[in-house]
Symmetry: C2
Subunit: 433 residues, 2 copies
């Protein structure tokens, strides 16, 4: 499998003349994620995050700071055009931006095109054509399955099929957009008939999002050896879930209104190139598990297709914010708890000829660790609502209350390299209308 | 519920100076469906079908034949802009086109903008943002459920929830685009492990498609009294299904690769306005069934929210075509076998705040009649592959073979009105690559 290579942009000694990028920023010069921003209600523009600032890419191109870059890809209001280009063009842009931001001689020319991030609004980085959510967090699948089938938590297909289903593209929103508590049908286990009202079991789910770059034609599968070049990068994804609606509606065709009221993503695309130093071997399958079927097996993918990313979920309630208490950690753990790699997910999706397009988003499914400190949803943390947790404010939670804010973050780390972050994926729960 | 009204465009005595529209055409002047066409590899243009011809809308507007119409809605390469406009603008366009095509004094000016349909290619009428497939054909749900659960074919939620799930927008193709037999995982009931290969249980499904017009903002449900104005019109939908993949993959999150390799639609949008004379009462629910929950209940919808449309599915094999045999009827029946109305489907979809957009497509799910001559899929017709049918060519079929072509058609009929048709939804099965 062709994977992005480690190059000079990953050198740990590299620093930027943007001082805030050096030190403990999510966005050091080794990261350089792409996104879409606007200033003061102005037009949407393409940018790169650097420390506490954003480099305006079209402005930098106009100032002739990005030689060798196809400037026509930088003038739109979404990253779809850049995502549709060969990965080599994205890499050329990364190299040019790295040069601008590390080389002090560019400081004077580039500074006018650098915006303080706090003065900008961040938007969805791409027009999302189709959104698919997978279920590759095996500990999550086992934990949830055990609540329904204690003796047989994982279904027979789980270790052969990267289980996935289509989700709703139109209701994906960037970090910061509040979530209105949804209304819907639920039926109590002992109730005769369903009732309609605001969800009483609103939950979060910690996922990685995979951004598709170049697509494939309808009818033409993507061999796993080629899957890497179809992945532009990654983001964080909170797959909000109304567990009461879900339990009532999901048979036989899967989740629908329990999920499609809103999903929240972090707005920066952490590129496959930025993550090159953080590729690790896919963990060996437990003894007795089947090997991946041949179309899902690639030696290079097994050797380096997983990612050394640590995920974290925190909660902040209205009472905690009033008391000045910081967000409380709910859970966290490594992305290596994915049973399938991103390449396997992409290849499986296209294996029947289904066409993926630039800007499509794939969710991994909830990534839980095997132990309770790393469960990626309140459904797991509260054991289906049976065991409340107590927050630093003294408040108890089984599921989310109005005013609660969920904050997802992630960091990629590897010995000898500068860590990079994903930025924030946050949203506050507002009361039902 | 506000529904389109019967007006002068539905007068049975109205005829067109386009002679082929008068008589037994799917597209008399009472129909006037919207679509997207191109000529000889040229650009996509918006058009209206009339008899065996297509009226070029932008050309007609340039020739000042469409007074009072917003011509800017007619110049693009998809109908999304027109669909996003208030229904009154679509109605104004219908009235203007009706005037052009019925009034002989416009013949000379309009003829240069009339194309023979056989010289045109037809395309998807809209850029489809999200595609959702429902499951409201109760006889289909019962037939399929009985194959898995003979004693309990309908799940407890069926009569409360218009069951639906998200499908794949990117792989929807217009009538005429061949279908390549998909490859995928299947597991025989007595097999230890799955195998990978071309589907051996490829099926069709007869559905109606519902085109969304004006959308709703995220977080703002659509009251059922308003649902009508969000529906632009209807089409035919063949929801091709690989039953072997489906049986293996669908638990717990629903159909995925069994469906998303391709879906075929008829290319003309049969508008809500054209269907005004064909509105009928939703059939009374059987005794003992629950009433729709209040958010899904509207007196006007119950009185006139169903449609007097008769669906038909036919097959043509390679051997039949060689022998000059016409397509063979597989099944057919009335759309009133839907347990929920289009308005109930739309309102349920948005009831949790999910935002629908102009150009979104909703499938009804397979519409089967209660008796075997009206089953809408081979899964039902062949009783899960156990009972082959014999075709006029002497060939037997349980599921589709390479070279088979499926043709869906539909007609709306009502006493005292000119019948209108949906055009063709056809595609031929090509061998797996």
């Amino acid at each position: 499998m062709s994977l992005p290579q480690i190059d000079h942009t990953h050198k740990p000694s590299a620093t930027s003349w943007v001082a805030s990028a050096n030190g403990h920023s999510d966005f050091p010069v080794q990261n350089l994620p792409f996104g879409v921003f606007s200033r003061a209600g102005g037009a949407r523009q393409l940018g790169v995050a650097i420390g506490d600032s954003i480099l305006d890419l079209a402005g930098a191109a106009r100032a002739r700071l990005l030689p060798g870059v196809n400037a026509s890809q930088l003038t739109g209001s979404s990253l779809n055009t850049l995502m549709a280009a060969p990965p080599s063009q994205r890499l050329a842009l990364r190299h040019a931006v790295f040069d601008v931001l590390t080389n002090d001689q560019h400081r004077a020319h580039a500074t006018p095109h650098l915006m303080p991030a706090e003065a900008c609004d961040l938007h969805l980085p791409a027009a999302i054509g189709d959104y698919t959510d997978f279920y590759v967090g095996i500990h999550h699948a086992r934990n949830v399955g055990a609540q329904f089938r204690p003796d047989n938590p994982l279904l027979p297909n789980y270790k052969y099929v990267p289980i996935g289903y289509h989700g709703r593209a139109s209701s994906i929103r960037p970090s910061g957009v509040p979530l209105v508590r949804p209304k819907g049908q639920r039926k109590a286990p002992d109730g005769d008939t369903p009732i309609v009202g605001p969800s009483t079991r609103l939950d979060y789910e910690v996922e990685l999002g995979i951004w598709i770059g170049q697509g494939n034609a309808l009818g033409e599968p993507i061999p796993i050896a080629d899957a890497g070049r179809h992945i532009t990068g990654f983001c964080l994804l909170n797959d909000w879930s109304a567990r009461d609606f879900q339990a009532w509606e999901y048979q036989p065709l899967g989740p629908f209104l329990a999920k499609n009221f809103q999903s929240t993503i972090s707005p920066w695309i952490i590129t496959a190139e930025a993550l090159a130093p953080f590729r690790i071997a896919q963990p060996a399958r437990p003894a007795g598990d089947p090997a991946p079927l041949p179309y899902l097996f690639d030696l290079a993918d097994q050797a380096g297709g997983a990612l050394a990313i640590t995920l974290s979920a925190r909660i902040s309630t209205a009472k905690m914010r009033e008391a000045g208490q910081p967000p409380h950690r709910l859970s966290g753990g490594p992305a290596s708890n994915m049973y399938w790699t991103p390449a396997q997910i992409v290849t499986h999706h296209a294996s029947n000829g289904c066409n993926l397009n630039p800007g499509d988003l794939l969710g991994t499914g909830t990534i839980s660790a095997p132990t309770a400190d790393g469960y990626g949803s309140l459904l797991e943390i509260s054991n289906g609502g049976k065991t409340p947790i107590t927050l630093p404010s003294g408040e108890a939670r089984t599921f989310l209350e109005d005013g609660d804010e969920i904050l997802l973050t992630a960091t990629a780390q590897a010995e000898g390299f500068v860590s990079i972050g994903f930025g924030e994926c946050r949203a506050i729960v507002l009361p039902a209308i």
